[in-house]
Symmetry: C2
Subunit: 229 residues, 2 copies
């Protein structure tokens, strides 16, 4: 989309919304939300929020990709999740009435809306369907993270890379995976050099194709076998 069009985005017309957590809310609520929300254009590598700061609302990705990460010792990033269009981010810390435990930053040019904390909470209060969706969403994420932990603990870097590529394929859909080697390494949980070497092996084995930053998964089936389990 044209980067100057973002002011015209309304929740009512937003195709992303129709598919996401915020589907199934009433027209009145929609209108109310539209009046209160803000929508901005973000350049690549712009920060949405930082670990340790206090949430003032939730972000709704209209277009683009956002990495959710945590800094470990020495400041090394661990990417926990890569959010795509349609996803709501930053509501967990808001519920916990706590600081953000993770940071969020765009991976590419994005348009992202912002809904104030109070507006969102009152929406939640009034809307049992939304509540249930949020609960369900959080449960799913909890489950995903349990798997993530298990993978980290038990799988080799090679297996984790295979797993991550399959995950990212879902996130990027038609388009090729487009991440810096460092970000990919920080997602897999390994050193950049190791990642590069393994990626080269995968390429030689015909599992993926690469073109500079872009990665095309060419044999998902074999990758899946590689993951094991």
């Amino acid at each position: 989309m044209n980067k100057n069009d973002f002011r015209s985005i309304t929740c009512a017309s937003c195709l992303q919304r129709k598919e996401n957590l915020l589907s199934g809310i009433s027209d009145t609520e929609l209108m109310q939300m539209d009046n209160h929300k803000g929508c901005s254009f973000y350049k690549k590598n712009q920060s949405l929020f930082l670990e340790g700061s206090f949430p003032r609302g939730v972000f709704c990705i209209h277009h683009g990709k956002v990495k959710i990460y945590k800094r470990g010792e020495e400041g090394k990033e661990q990417i926990i999740h890569i959010a795509k269009e349609g996803e709501l981010i930053g509501f967990r810390a808001m519920f916990a009435e706590n600081k953000y435990s993770v940071s969020a930053e765009t991976l590419e040019e994005s348009t992202i809306c912002f809904i104030q904390k109070d507006d969102f909470l009152s929406l939640l209060d009034a809307n049992p369907t939304l509540r249930n969706r949020i609960l369900k969403e959080m449960s799913q994420e909890l489950s995903d993270r349990a798997e993530f932990i298990t993978n980290m603990a038990q799988k080799s870097v090679r297996q984790r890379l295979a797993f991550s590529l399959l995950l990212l394929k879902e996130v990027y859909g038609e388009k090729p995976i487009n991440l810096s080697r460092e970000d990919l390494a920080n997602f897999v949980g390994t050193a950049t050099e190791t990642l590069i070497r393994l990626l080269k092996e995968f390429k030689e084995e015909g599992l993926v194709e690469t073109n500079v930053r872009k990665i095309y998964v060419s044999d998902a089936k074999r990758l899946l076998m590689l993951v094991g389990n």
Copy 2:
């Protein structure tokens, strides 16, 4: 407590409940819950539920400890969490209307109550305070797991052991940590042999004392420094 007393446990009189997610519910609701809940005695190493099965309600630990784990490739366990008295378990999968993504098993003799799915859901529906607590709880767990992932990805086994011991110290309170070497290894995310060797080092460095299965943390401060970050 005497293992035959468990039939007399009521939510109304339960000291655990007063501290946990289920505090702040009305007397009527309490009574209703008491009429519907069941309470059982569990031996050590008894299963509460298995990954892949469907939830039929939530468990409330009155006394004892429960490991929440996931099986990875080759069937190796990864312990995600160790729940203690007062904790509610198994509600995530219930919200997600999905199979359990993890399994739960007692680590010691325990008394655990069970609340039917429908009863719990209607309680939730009627009780905004409870709802908010659950949201908050889940948010906190999401945050814990992000940290867990980051630790797994970036810290050495030695650091993870230090971290785990500190966590377990909280769980066990006054009492010494009491886990098999294998369970501890599966929590830290390492091989049993490696765990034993590191534990020996910790003992030699005066960080912990051990007595068969029991582990006493003797220098929490130094352990914390070891964890780094």
